[in-house]
């Protein structure tokens, strides 16, 4: 079952990439505000330009 020794590191690498992305997101302030992004999605349409 030596393929396990590759699938597991591979899965860990993917998880590691996820962890890195998560830390990046936290550090760069992606999750500083977890209220307004939800609101903003709804008010999006108000920015529409009427041609």
């Amino acid at each position: 079952m030596e393929v396990l020794f590759f699938l597991i590191p591979l899965s860990l690498t993917l998880a590691g990439a996820g962890l890195w992305a998560c830390l990046w997101a936290i550090r760069s302030g992606q999750f500083d505000d977890v209220e307004s992004p939800a609101q903003r999605l709804i008010f999006d349409d108000m920015e529409k330009a009427k041609e």
């Binding site: 079952m1 030596e2 393929v3 396990l4 590759f6 699938l7 590191p9 591979l10 899965s11 690498t13 993917l14 998880a15 590691g16 990439a17 996820g18 962890l19 890195w20 992305a21 998560c22 990046w24 997101a25 302030g29 992606q30 999750f31 505000d33 977890v34 209220e35 992004p37 939800a38 609101q39 999605l41 709804i42 999006d44 920015e47 529409k48 330009a49 041609e51």
Partner: protein, 710 residues
């Protein structure tokens, strides 16, 4: 610092095309689904044409609904929402269109090759290597376009839906490449680089994560964008949606082994798969509740708005199937549920309910927006909704009933401890009527999507409104600091690409393992020998006809399994199986201990007319195996390829391939002639009979000591 407003025109044309492709391929994929459902209820529907038999059409159905219907729906959602969330047009229109046409060509190639029996023989990964390469290229093109669009975005925050899309793009790329690694012997035939148990593990690592990252995460992204939009309410808890995402991503990747419980997979790996599967309930239900609570403030809309109806049904089925799945991953439950129609019911509650539900909800939301006119007939959308709902209920309840009947009958014992239903066929005939109910349910669902398509086409063709791409004014958050910010973003993008590259390289290394690890691939069961040329050819035919769609080759580690089929299967028995053929469903009985059970004549008659040996059988007839002749010149090529993959053939095996083939074939021909059947030695059926007679027989000569460690 105040910035000037910029005008942004979104590329909506690409979204329109992906949406139409979604519906068209939904219709085709579901039509094939209805056909295969009919074939199971009424075997003559298999016809006498090889390209319409169940074993070839079932992969077409699964590939079409997952990758053509589901895939195009994902891309519709991504192209529509990504541009709006990031306040920018896609980075490159050209790449968008290469992606669109590339994907449709891949679907076309699948629709041609699968009915022809051109397959790698691994579920949901059947497409042969040239198509696999094309998928990789098109996928990477899409990834570049999406990453570049993120890099040029005008808002800082990445909305949660985008995270779900990114997880899909990266993970699917890695899974696809690792699982599809194969050694080609021609343009239309290749052998998996992995063998037996290892191939099975890679396949289900891929298989379950395909469910996770192709049928779950992208549609969750879709849900987190389109549900708030459709009900005009912010997500109930944005915080929860972020937790939902990260926990799902970290847990999903470990669940694959739950497809291999009670097999020769190491016990700890089985437990790992089971535990992580159970953990998945938490994020899944968090997400389901988050979706439902988002709709709650406007709950009355459920009564009349078809969009909301579809989303509510989708979330309900998401909740149901993400509860059911972990339950089925519990070893004790899996022992009785695995290989039965319960699994088919489970899959369709997720596919028809969850995926179908969000796709139709999105469709009815998008069509008026993309074509700038109201839906042709909202009442028809309502009819569609009820057809879908009733269709699913009929489908899954019939499959649950069939599954329960199966495991009751498979496990039933007489007071003496013998099998109460030793003849597998009895357990098939008992559930046959439920296959008709399933057909009815599936047909209702199919009529539903036809009505949906009609409604959409009438909307598009309605006179009046003009179709234009949406243009918005937006004050960018970050354009004046573009120099530094862009640099930073590009750096991040670069770092991200490097990480992905590393992940993929590790995947590439996996390719080399079977070659490097030949030593450890040498069977620990000395009695297990490589297939002869004739048997190998028979195995290729077995793979081509898709026998694995209905027959397993894995007797699990439980006494009752052994009672029905013979000794349990050992990992060491499969070391020459490129690809593995464990199967995942027993519409027919397990075949791993079939060798030597019946005379050659029985197999011959059974393949030509299954009803002649097994009255009432629902198996298709394979008359073309008698007329089709094997090209013997290919045999040395095949043996050589196997040798490269680590199968210990000697030089004489390869040089004498044709002679050995004919010698063994003539023995079977003689047997059949004695029974009054005259058949050509090069007929495909001879090779298949040889393979059938070989299955699981090496074990008879194995020493007990070796088996202890296997």
């Amino acid at each position: 610092m105040a910035h000037d407003a910029v005008k942004i025109t979104y590329d909506d044309k690409i979204t329109r095309w992906f949406l139409i492709a979604t519906l068209v391929f939904g219709i085709i994929g579901m039509l094939v689904g209805v056909i295969v459902a009919l074939q199971l209820a009424w075997w003559p529907a298999n016809t006498h044409w090889s390209f319409l038999s169940f074993g070839r059409l079932r992969p077409l159905h699964t590939n079409a609904v997952i990758f053509a219907f589901g895939g195009n729906a994902i891309f519709t959602a991504v192209y529509y929402s990504l541009q709006r969330l990031l306040k920018t047009r896609m980075w490159s229109d050209k790449l968008s269109w290469i992606h669109f046409w590339g994907w449709q060509l891949i679907i076309l190639a699948a629709a041609i090759t699968l009915p022809l029996g051109i397959t790698q023989g691994k579920e949901y990964a059947e497409l042969e290597w040239p198509i696999d390469l094309a998928i990789t290229v098109v996928w990477v093109i899409m990834a570049i376009n999406v990453f570049a669009t993120i890099a040029i975005r005008r808002v800082h925050h990445l909305y949660v839906a985008i995270w779900f899309y990114l997880a899909t793009i990266i993970t699917i790329a890695v899974l696809h490449i690792v699982n599809a690694l194969a050694l080609p012997i021609s343009f239309t035939k290749s052998y998996s680089v992995y063998a037996g148990m290892q191939d099975a593990l890679v396949q289900w690592w891929y298989g379950h994560n395909a469910v996770g990252f192709f049928l779950t995460t992208p549609f969750l992204g879709l849900m987190y964008y389109f549900i708030p939009k459709a009900v005009n309410q912010p997500v109930y808890s944005y915080r929860l949606s972020i937790i939902h995402f990260w926990s799902l991503v970290f847990i999903y990747i470990w669940t694959g082994p739950h497809h291999l419980l009670y097999t020769a997979l190491p016990e700890w790996a089985q437990t790992l798969g089971m535990v992580f599967s159970l953990m998945l309930i938490a994020p899944s239900w968090g997400g389901m509740l988050n979706g439902l609570l988002t709709i709650r403030p406007v709950w009355s809309k459920v009564r009349h708005d078809p969009i909301v109806k579809f989303f509510v049904v989708a979330l309900t089925f998401y909740g149901m199937s993400t509860f059911e799945g972990p339950m089925m991953a519990i070893k004790a439950v899996n022992l009785v549920s695995h290989y039965t129609d319960w699994t088919i019911g489970h899959v369709h509650s997720g596919a028809l309910g969850w995926v179908g539900g969000v796709v139709f909800g999105m469709t009815y939301y998008l069509v008026p927006k993309l074509w700038g006119r109201p839906l042709y007939n909202p009442k028809l959308a309502n009819t569609h909704f009820w057809l879908v709902t009733i269709g699913i209920v009929l489908y899954i309840t019939s499959m649950y009933a069939a599954g329960i009947t199966q495991f009751n009958m498979w496990w039933a014992k007489t007071p003496e401890g013998l099998l109460k239903y030793p003849n597998f066929l009895e357990t098939v005939l008992a559930i046959k009527w439920l296959y008709w109910v399933r057909l009815l349910g599936g047909s209702l669902y199919f009529v539903g999507i036809l009505i949906c398509f009609y409604n959409v086409v009438r909307t598009i063709l309605a006179p009046g409104a003009v179709t234009v791409d949406e243009t918005v004014q937006f004050v960018p958050e970050r354009i004046h600091t573009a120099v530094t910010l862009h640099e930073r973003l590009e750096n991040k993008g670069f770092l991200f690409s490097v990480l992905i590259f590393i992940a993929i390289i590790i995947g590439g290394i996996v390719e080399l393992i079977p070659t490097f690890a030949i030593e450890s691939n040498v069977p620990t069961i000395t009695a297990v020998k490589p297939y002869t040329a004739l048997e190998l050819q028979g195995r290729d035919i077995y793979v081509r006809e898709g026998c694995y769609n209905c027959h397993s080759q894995m007797v699990r580690t439980h006494a009752t399994e052994a009672q029905r089929y013979g000794s349990r299967s050992y990992a060491g028995e499969f070391v020459y199986d490129h690809p593995f053929q464990f199967g995942s469903k027993r519409t027919g009985p397990d075949l791993h201990r079939l060798g030597g059970k019946y005379p050659d004549l029985w197999h011959y008659k059974h393949m030509i007319d299954p009803r002649s040996t097994s009255p009432g059988s629902i198996m298709p007839a394979y008359a073309w195996l008698v007329t089709n002749q094997v090209d013997l010149t290919q045999m040395s090529v095949k043996l050589k390829a196997m040798k490269r993959l680590g199968v210990p053939y000697e030089a004489s095996h390869i040089s004498n391939a044709e002679i050995d083939y004919m010698n063994q074939a003539n023995l079977i021909v003689t047997n059949l002639t004695n029974d009054g059947i005259s058949v050509n030695a090069e007929s495909e059926i001879i090779a298949l009979i040889a393979y059938m007679q070989r299955l699981g027989t090496d074990l008879k000569n194995a020493s007990a000591d070796e088996l202890k460690n296997n």
